[in-house]
Point group: C2
Chain length 201, copies 2
DNA sequence: GTCTATAATCTGATAGAC
DNA sequence: GTCTATCAGATTATAGAC
């Protein structure tokens, strides 16, 4: 049940969002003109302004929509009580969610500086909420003694960075299947964080 | 002995490069005009063209210069024979080199899509050469049995991603000193790659 | 809701004076 | 080597016809 974003109901609205997503990801927000977006949709430039007040809102709606979807999907997941299981669950969730939304992921990381200050704060807050979810898992594991992480914030950022970077090189027709990629990163992350005690993971 | 890049000898040339580096990193290549760069330097826009044939060359020279410096610095390092020591050496080198060149690092990762195809191939080749250096260390360690990495290419990308991401959040006046950050990532990386055998690292 | 036309401004790059 | 002036075209956004 995908909720429509902002005022983009109807048919043309979503097509404008799709076109902007594709073009912003490929060429960058600043390098894409409203005429290009209109051309991709098949309308004239003026028609876009029936759906967005300006170009900035187009970018912001894309980024906020992406983060909203991410957090909504995360909340729908059942997080295991066991910290190790929760970590493995998160790794799989993160890879699967991001690999099918590569354009949006790219924009969410590359176009932050093109957001107005107020819009930046909103997106940054949502990103922070997502990071906090992983950090909470690491804290629970550290408290239970199954993870050995001197700084959970650093470990959180390290894990998310290495997982998100997959979206920049993974190809469905490449050397590795998605299952293989998941298995490898699962092993790397678990080994990176596991405690020195009995091998729980 | 910093070698001057391209035709940027003299005084104004380097100032143009510095201004472009700063502005491209802050606002993005496509969002910065030649007039803005000229204004930052304190000359008129036309004067820039005594130093660069066009805006694209300005970007390319920055990126190639950054990668050239990176590879030159890497070659000056003495790489230990022991794979574990070599890995630790690389982690420290990577963090130290990148943390003092945050603008250039940002540009090198964010503006690849704004390079012409030929220029992209050049920069991509240099980046690949750098990755190969780390991968060679991992392969040596895997062959010696001290590292447990099923896929050295994946592990290489994972390590570089988590290390480079430090540049996006580290602040000199922040919670952690650079030495602390180095120590933490050293521990994370070593643990992520170490073999199941006797704890060599 | 889409079109055409246009306002007002900015763009990269060049020519020629000094 | 820097300036001023300028070219030719693109930019976002708006106004009003249909």
């Amino acid at each position: 049940m995908a909720r429509t974003q902002g005022s983009f109901s109807g048919v043309t609205g979503p097509r404008i969002q799709d076109a902007a997503l594709k073009l912003f990801a490929r060429h960058g927000y600043a390098a894409v003109s409203m005429r290009q977006i209109a051309g991709e949709v098949g309308v004239q430039a003026g028609a876009l302004y029936n759906y967005t007040p300006d170009k900035q809102s187009l970018l912001f709606d894309l980024m906020r929509g992406h983060m909203d979807q991410l957090l909504a999907a995360l909340e729908r997941e059942d997080v295991p009580d066991d910290p190790c299981a929760a970590l493995r669950h998160f790794v799989r969730f993160h890879i699967r969610f991001h690999l099918v939304r590569r354009d949006a992921v790219f924009i969410a990381y590359m176009e932050l500086r093109n957001l107005s200050p107020e819009n930046f704060d909103v997106v940054e807050g949502l990103r922070r909420t997502y990071e906090d979810h992983l950090e909470a898992i690491l804290q629970r594991g550290a408290a239970a003694g199954v993870f050995d992480v001197p700084d959970t914030k650093v470990a959180t950022l390290a894990v998310i960075a290495m997982l998100t970077e997959i979206t920049t090189w993974y190809r469905a027709d490449g050397r590795l299947t998605q299952d293989e990629v998941e298995a490898q990163y699962l092993a790397l992350v678990c080994r990176m964080l596991r405690g020195a005690g009995p091998d729980a993971m």
